[in-house]
């Protein structure tokens, strides 16, 4: 049965505001199944033409990084400045590079 603590499964909702944009997380809904989650998301998050496409996914199926691991995950990128174009010295008279 799909009940969690007296309530249905929690789904995270992602909306594409218009074509050309990515889907963006907007919040969550509860639903008994996937189809109902989509309907609830439509009613709740697109009352004013906020979207042209909706994704819903049961929250329990999302794997998220732990803020406690942030240093291990994200700090190594900080000392790799050579990944950015501004790291390189190019003579002033060289163009289009």
């Amino acid at each position: 049965m799909s009940q969690t603590g007296g309530d249905w499964d929690l789904y995270e909702v992602f909306i594409r505001s218009k074509n050309g944009m990515s889907h963006k997380h907007v919040g969550s809904v509860h639903a008994a199944d996937d189809a109902m989650a989509l309907q609830n998301a439509r009613d709740l998050y697109t009352r004013r033409s906020e979207g042209v496409s909706i994704w819903v996914i049961a929250s329990k199926n999302i794997t998220a990084s732990d803020p406690g691991d942030s240093a291990a995950l994200f700090e190594p990128a900080a000392d790799k400045v050579y990944r950015h174009p501004t790291f390189y010295t190019i003579p002033d008279n060289v163009k289009n590079l």
């Binding site: 049965m1 799909s2 009940q3 969690t4 603590g5 007296g6 309530d7 249905w8 929690l10 907007v26 919040g27 969550s28 809904v29 509860h30 008994a32 199944d33 109902m36 709740l44 009352r47 004013r48 998220a64 732990d66 803020p67 406690g68």
Partner: protein, 337 residues
């Protein structure tokens, strides 16, 4: 306000007793946490946070959500009796928005670890509070105008600063709410303006609604600063950004000229423009009435809770049917594999 701490002194004392004894400041972690807030960083769901921050926010956000949900009831009272199809459509859309606000807020509240089911249970069992304003009845059509103009107007003044509150999901929910709120206030003001420009009887009806809703609306901002002891911590955490008195004054200063513009009179004999302060001075508020309504002596307290409980229990068959359908679908999906 939707977010004011509405617990009575006894309830606060009881909560304090049940809390595990711990030093006032849990030095290292609370210090680092406060530093993040002072640096205007947003706190996100899985971040470390002091237990008291989580608790206070959960109470504030769920009370805010309950207020949006219960707030639909006084307006629902007039859907079938709206004076025109135009007004009926508008009122329905507004009420639907309020349901949405409640759900955005429950969604934000859940990220703190309390399920929506638990929050709703707390409301239905009478353990949770909601804004006192919704325990006043809407006795005439003009009340729908007054509610939109004054109650939603007061909510806007309270909610705009919360778009910058320190807890990310709450701040994002508030941004959505604030975008939708302004139509609520304008449709209410339009109702009042139409009545105020109508027949003598209609104008009298508008004035009567203003007379009854004015004081409860300005009391919505909660007790005066001198009497709201918990605000200091909430200010430091940036889950409250201005004091009750500041917000109340801001609302009064905005609203008095709006009443004058449509020829209505704010029912306060002490109301006077104070040149020096650049604000209106106003008369004393009846805090005995405020606390009586908080404690359940409002005209409509019982009706509101009963309406919520009935809505929930009468919807049980819909939930059961949806669950049975979901189960059947997933069984046949498994069978097809």
């Amino acid at each position: 306000m939707y977010t004011t701490d509405l617990r009575t002194a006894e309830e606060k004392a009881k909560a304090r007793e049940s809390e595990p004894r711990k030093p006032a400041v849990d030095a290292a972690s609370d210090g680092a946490f406060q530093a993040r807030i002072d640096d205007d960083q947003f706190i996100e769901p899985k971040d470390d946070m002091p237990e008291a921050y989580r608790k206070t926010l959960t109470r504030q956000i769920s009370q805010h959500a309950h207020s949006e949900i219960v707030g639909m009831l006084p307006e629902g009272n007039w859907v079938k009796r709206a004076p025109s199809l135009r007004r009926k459509l508008i009122l329905l859309a507004k009420i639907q928005d309020e349901a949405g606000h409640g759900l955005y807020l429950y969604s934000a509240g859940e990220t703190l670890g309390t399920s929506r089911g638990e929050m709703v249970d707390a409301l239905h069992s009478g353990r949770a509070k909601y804004s006192t304003i919704f325990n006043y009845p809407t006795t005439t059509w003009a009340d729908i105008g007054a509610v939109g103009w004054l109650v939603d107007g007061a909510a806007i003044v309270n909610q705009i600063p919360l778009c910058r509150t320190s807890y990310g999901p709450y701040a994002r929910a508030m941004v959505r709410v604030c975008k939708e709120e302004s139509f609520h206030q304008r449709q209410g003001f339009e109702i009042m303006a139409a009545l105020a420009n109508g027949t003598r009887e209609q104008k009298r009806m508008a004035q009567d609604a203003l007379n009854r809703w004015w004081w409860p609306s300005i009391m919505m901002f909660g007790p005066t600063d001198a009497d709201s002891s918990n605000s200091e911590q909430s200010m430091a955490w940036k889950i409250k950004r201005f004091s009750n008195d500041e917000l109340r004054q801001r609302f009064i200063d905005q609203t008095v000229p709006q009443a004058e513009a449509i020829g209505l009179k704010v029912p306060d004999p002490d109301l006077k423009w104070n040149e020096e302060r650049g604000s209106y001075d106003f008369g004393p508020l009846n805090w005995d009435e405020f606390w009586a309504v908080v404690k359940g002596d409002g005209v409509a307290n019982r009706d509101r809770l009963e309406a919520r409980q009935n809505a929930y229990s009468e919807g049980a068959w819909v939930r059961e049917a949806a669950e049975a359908y979901a189960e059947k679908q997933s069984n046949s999906a498994v069978a097809a594999e």
